[in-house]
Amino acid sequence: DPQERAFQERIDAGGKIEPKDWMPDGYRKTLIRQIGQHAHSEIVGQLPEGNWITRAPTLERKAILLAKVQDEAGHGLYLYCAAETLGVTRDQMTRDLLSGKMKYSSIFNYPTLTWADMGAVGWLVDGAAIMNQVPLQRTSYGPYARAMVRICKEESFHQRQGFDIMMKMAKGTPEQKRMAQDALNRFWYPSLMMFGPSDAESVHSAQSMAWKIKMNSNDELRQKFVDLTAPQADYLGLTIPDENLKWNEEKGGYDFSEPDWDEFFDVLKGNGPCSVERLEDRNRAWDEGRWVREAMLAHADKKRAAKLAAE
């Protein structure tokens, strides 16, 4: 197919695909899935942090966390907009999220149990997210790449704030340090899982790489994340819960244990500790907001009708 060949050549040459350009069906579908899932993750990702906003321990922490969660809603908006350029509506994607048809990042199915989790989420979860996202600023689909540029700028800020919370806890009282270590223990492996299973087992990977909607292999990014994070844990005086973690001079990176992939696939199937609750919460918000959205539409219709009548 010459059209397809031209498309691939354009990508290979570093060109950007824009909404009105021709694209293969698979490209469109994969992108919708990927961007939609990313958008949903921003939205569902508000919930574990929302759980601690009302309990933030200082005014400053409260404001920072609120601003962060607001940014996440904003990222959700950018991404839904990017996905909409591919011919799907935000409402449709939302319905697919609420019915469980579309996924979001499994990490948000873990509970946030102490204030230190706000640190761990920022440091590890946002850290892993950035690792995934930075290369996507160069992705082949224009609207997606541009959304990523805006998002990455804010995410790195969040990651620093998370690290700062972690630092305060790790250098705090013995109780605080215990909470920090416990948060690291609980979030370490789920964070490693955020890069997805080893490429050998990952579906779609090769095609997505060719299309430049996936820029690096999962294992490659995971390695980078560990290499960056392990010294940070050291600096905090915390211990990564992996006996096998150690520097490998030869490969110039850390050796580390694989996460429990059975757990990963379990959580993916909806068996995370909070999977049910997260979807329940999103569904409740959607259902309880129905009358508001209806009012909004009804009012807009009335205004339009009045305007027409006046013309």
Binding site: Q46, T54, R61, K168, Q176, W291, M296, H299
Partner: protein, 256 residues
């Protein structure tokens, strides 16, 4: 214009700060529950503005109280029990549905705008500075809430009913705002405060305009609840505080 006693000045600042803090906190409870995504951003924005205003006022109050009182702004927020809180009752009410939240916001912002405007002329230059920024923010809050009340009032039958119910239910909390007790009077006379009775007519005008545009009934005069400014609260506040203050109470004196 007499000199304002230090403890009256502190008390006056605390009332303003507490009201903004508690309303900001209520806004933060909306996280993940908004009817549309854009509103998630807007409600958080309002919450951030209010908490920011509160924080500036607490910090100034701490400076005003000086050495006699060694509490910092966080101590004031996280270590006072309900009877020591001096916020208006209106803002401590549970959020209820989106209509209740928006009507509460409109009632408060329609009050806050003229109050901040007057405070830009406070003899306390620090307060005047805070008020300048806060007035602009409150104008935005008022516009935002009013637009929603218009949509809901002049939307569907259900939304009209819900927003009218909210107006009626919250009305009895509005009288307290204009109450000139000793502290407010002293603050006003010393050039630190606002003549709240004068604010009332502007408030009524704003509210009447919003409700009329939204095809809603302006409530009749009714019995008004009061007590917030003197620490006599509703049963709602204690529960808000037990949540908000948990960490500072459970782990006293730690750095976060």
């Amino acid at each position: 214009m007499g000199e304002l006693q230090k403890n009256t000045r502190f008390e006056h600042l605390l009332r303003l700060a507490d009201t903004n803090l508690i309303l900001g906190h209520r806004m933060s409870e909306w996280i993940g529950k908004s009817p549309i995504l854009e509103e998630e951003l807007a409600l958080t924005n309002i919450g951030l503005d209010l908490i920011g205003q509160a924080r500036a006022l607490y910090e100034h109050a701490v400076a005003v109280s000086g050495e006699e009182d060694n509490r910092d702004a966080d101590d004031l927020v996280f270590l006072r029990d309900a009877p020591e809180y001096k916020n208006l009752l209106l803002v401590e009410r549970e959020n209820g549905d989106f209509a209740h939240t928006m009507v509460r916001q409109m009632f408060y912002s329609a009050f806050a705008v003229p109050v901040w405007e007057a405070l830009t002329r406070s003899v306390d230059s620090e307060v005047a500075g805070i008020a300048g920024r806060a007035e602009k923010e409150s104008l935005y809050h008022l516009r935002h809430a009013s637009e929603w009340i218009l949509r809901m009032g002049d939307g569907t039958e259900e939304s009209h009913q819900r927003v009218q119910d909210a107006v009626d239910a919250l009305w009895m909390y509005t009288g307290e705002m204009f109450d000139m007790d000793e502290v407010e009077t002293a603050a006003f006379e010393a050039g630190h405060g606002v003549d709240l009775t004068a604010v009332r007519s502007e408030w009524e005008k704003t509210v009447r305009e919003v409700l009329t545009a939204a095809t809603l009934d302006y409530p009749e005069d009714c019995w008004m609840l009061k007590g917030g400014r003197t620490g006599k609260h509703t049963e709602h506040l204690g529960h808000l505080l037990s949540d908000m203050q948990f960490l500072q109470r459970a782990y006293p004196g730690q750095k976060w």
